[in-house]
Symmetry: D2
Subunit: 352 residues, 4 copies
């Protein structure tokens, strides 16, 4: 950690910072320039209390040198991590490194028949993991909040029938115990990225966790949230970029592909993109999914909904099954540029 | 709600939107301009599914006319709400309308003696409600996470002794039941502003809720979160502006006083400011507190920490007791411009 | 335009808005709902003064329906525009529709020899247009400000020698006349995107204009700036996305690929990406360039600098020539997904 | 400057950075920690090329210690600067330190009579400097662009008649010479904050410059723009905060009072606020003006427009003269908290 002193900090203030650094078990290292003194704290930076140092008299700013997360960092684990989703009645699907994965399904599970129909469509289109919401995070208390445990049981049955692991969002610490035996992968939504109790609770399970990035979170914040899960002993974290708030008012969120490149340099964790919840318009889903894979993502999570002749699809961002299938073909082409491959559902089952 | 059609939307698409509006129980109202058709949906807008309408063919955009929150809106309740914090052994403190309140105390409760000492300082300085963290939301899993229930009991004892209601942050739905009998006011932190299960859970209690604004939330998002609490029957919501993320990198967050003016026009709920957690530097706390009151806030929440001779204050944003006292004098002057008044601790006790 | 009245607006206020709409030459169209009145203004929206309407008593908000730009919109010109850069001694390079183009060169022109060397490298790597800064927009008055007209003459000579059109940034209205005969394409930097006098001045020339997006501009703002150029009669506008400000502090700017998809839906103008100035780190340039093309861009503009054995490359974002060449191969693969093709320098010359 | 090396940077890379620092005339200072090496560069930081150092192999990041601006910094000039606006036929008005100033007038000058009428209103209300736009920066090329030199002459005549210095926006380097003899203070708009040629050009004049902050600029960017003006020898820079882009969509911009506190700590330059152009709604102007003064500003710039019985005020943010007058009273109360005083027009004239 580097402590920059004010240009007019007296010697007593400099001495005080030095002695505090020593008290915390590190060695202070002074550099007195023409204009100000800079103090380096050499040793295990984690021992320092940055807030306390910043509160001392004469301190202008404190610049950390080490990364504040450890288990999530590429310095701790140099190679790309590969997370396995599934097992038991359903095959294990690999996500990470050269293994790209497509997770698809409806936004919310509305009934068993619709779920089964969509699940077959996405499996035929090339998805290997099934998604579907049973608890819905809604900004308005008056919106549909999901069907809960009943819908989760339909997800489990459908996944088992079709040989697809299932990925389902958890919203409350009190849901974790009920959900753990039923899901193959927990999903943490963007608005819960810093719900620290929830992160700890899923960290205590041994099911993988798909961790969406908060809508205004930095990559550092995101990796610190991953660290909450990892630090509980659960090493199966998959990062998911789903768009950030920007000033653009013609769409919902902006898929931030720059963060994919940054996160992959700083961390070994696999990262996928969610183009459906980013812009929130069907027309943009393909472009954004392709951009995410081109930036280096390890896969995508996409909303798909079929269209019975008498009704329009619900959800302005859901893809029609045939559009989804075509997109999968293009995604395979782009993944190849980075030597990544999407498994076929048959291969996955065979390798299980 | 107004549905703007694409410039080349066919008649069939226009008819389809109209019939969907009728199916939901409203009346469609077409205006065919030279360039495009605009459809107004007349009636109870809450009956409409905006997402569904946006997903229909030929729809360019959907513009809601009504506000998505109701109980929080000034249209529902024209006059300023006044929320009472306290009761029982401690006096009731009014927040809202002409009643300004100052909530103060340490960031985190570290031990009972320190708490008692700081509590006396803030009461002497002019605060009427005591704050203090017992569960701490920390971005890093390796940081101090608070002392929990033990510290809460110290808060209760100190509040009772000094005649100050207490305000304490809740982080997890599982803490609500234990905390409810001990606190006078729940605090919901910025990172939990959209933790919807937690909002519902405190909404089921009858203790007031101090709801901090999320770091990238709009006023609409914030009022929708307030609506979650209100819709459970708890009418004691106090909004708290505590800074938003901006591009300014020399401070932590930027206190957004514009949102105070906006929230007060849209909502009847009282609103206070937290200058300590905004910029994160002691030097800026007074300016920001004054600016918040000048913009029209109903009070402040401030961190205070005494400084024993042998140690520096912890927390780069905590005020020294004597600085806090001086600030209170300035705040009273600014409050007077808006005909608001901070109660003295004696008055509050007498009126109880 | 739609005018939403306050819920308690009196009839006189409604009448007044209606008569103002009529005075401006449009027809008012009232929809009186249960809660408020909404007034549609039917006709040529451009005749309305939105600011004036918003200032009338009882008006809650004014929602424009038409787009504020015309010549830049896809409604005005349905097919993708193709802009030709070059002519005379150098070949014409097409940008737009199926024609992808790569613009490359040094950040700033430092001397003629270095320029010539880099130009040969980028031509060999696959670039067909040469870039190089002669006036540099620098945030600090003490930084290198470019070599000016002399460097521009070296650019012209190098372009002519190698058969590459040149693209050079203009910063001041007073430079336009001198530059016009020498450049093949003007570049407007992000910080000048709303320098309206400069936009008008290059709009009066007949050389194409590469218009970078401002660092916090919406797509609408960007297209309005394009409209400034187009409205002067210059139809050769190429949009360039170069990154936006976000809260991510580990990079300079975030390349916003979502805006590419949005801009291509709203406008017929070609759009390219600048991955070098976005993140500002060499390591990220390839990922971002690929992501931009995958999102649907019509090309890239990249900084390249050779590395003599005795010196490091200047500029943390410049690519080495061999890395650039490899990237071009990957870009061709991704462009193929969208049926776009980068011309080879030979083809361009032959078709000239 | 501090150079943080990658954790796996080889000794050769460390040596290379050290020798580059020496080559630039500073002394390298190595601190080899357990995990990585940090190199301090001791001496005149302005001699270093940060970009070049960041481009060297093995460098993770470069952290500047010194501020990149000099003349604008409080380290260069410890006391608050006081800028005088006016002289000759009109009195000199002081802005800065204990001297608060109110600049007021119409948004755009539409005709001489209206200007004269508004000018009398604002003088009576307590303004001592007259504002009025003659060249208007408009995002759309089809909007009213101002009346130019003719309107400027009306401004000059009105200012002379009423004894008020005038402040007028300049947009193009080519306007500076014509405007210099006529204005008492140049205004640079937010969108031109980084129009570096324009900054340099007004820096060459000896008339004060009101420099508005860019809509997404940091305080550092803003002070660097001030440095452009100061470095040309013009020491009369007045900073003006006028709102920043945030995610709040119910207003135009958010007045950023935090930046006032920050700018006043970093710089000696006077700073005023523009509440009219921030939120863009009349209802919010008073709250924001008061908040700005409470945060410590040295004055305000406000739009005022009278309302003849037969017409509404143009401009949704303009105050009525009587509202303006009342606001001035409140502003005086708040200014007193910081021991600042708004001069009366009579005092100013007398002291001239």
């Amino acid at each position: 950690m580097i402590i920059v002193m004010n240009s007019n900090a007296p010697q007593a203030a400099i001495d005080r910072v030095s002695s505090e650094i020593e008290r915390m078990g590190l060695r202070p290292h002074l550099s007195s320039g023409k204009f100000r003194t800079v103090i380096g704290a050499m040793g295990e930076e984690g021992l320092l209390d940055q807030n306390h140092l910043a509160s001392l008299d004469g301190v202008e700013k404190v610049v950390p040198i080490m990364k504040p997360y450890k288990l999530a960092s590429r310095e701790f684990h140099e190679d790309d991590s590969v997370v396995e989703v599934g097992g038991g009645k359903v095959p294990k699907v690999k996500v990470g490194g050269p293994h790209a994965a497509c997770i698809a399904g409806p936004c919310a599970v509305e009934n068993e028949e619709m779920l089964n129909k969509i699940a077959r469509h996405v499996r035929d289109g090339g998805a290997t993991i099934l998604r579907g919401g049973v608890y819905k995070p809604r900004t308005s208390p008056y919106s549909f909040q999901g069907l809960g445990l009943q819908a989760l049981k339909w997800m489990r049955a459908t996944g088992d029938e079709l040989g697809m692991p299932i990925c389902v969002e958890v919203m409350d610490t009190r849901q974790v115990a009920d959900m753990e035996p039923l899901v193959d992968c927990f999903q943490i939504g963007a608005r819960n990225m810093q719900n620290f109790d929830l992160l700890r609770e899923v960290g205590k399970t041994r099911k993988p966790v798909l961790l969406k990035r908060g809508l205004a979170a930095t990559v550092k914040d995101w990796l610190l949230s991953a660290e909450y899960v990892l630090s509980q002993g659960n090493r199966g974290v998959i990062l998911c970029e789903r768009g950030i708030k920007t000033f653009e008012d013609s769409i919902r969120y902006s898929l931030d592909v720059t963060s994919i490149a940054v996160a992959q340099q700083l961390s070994h964790l696999p990262i996928i993109v969610d183009p459906s919840h980013a812009a929130g318009k069907r027309d943009y889903v393909a472009s954004l999914a392709l951009a995410g894979m081109a930036a280096g993502a390890n896969g995508v999570i996409v909303e798909v909904h079929y269209c019975p002749s008498e009704a329009q699809c619900d959800g302005p961002q859901a893809l029609l099954p045939e559009v989804f299938k075509e997109l999968m073909g293009q995604l395979r082409q782009v993944a190849a540029v980075h030597k990544r491959e999407f498994a076929e559902i048959g291969e996955v089952a065979a390798s299980a």
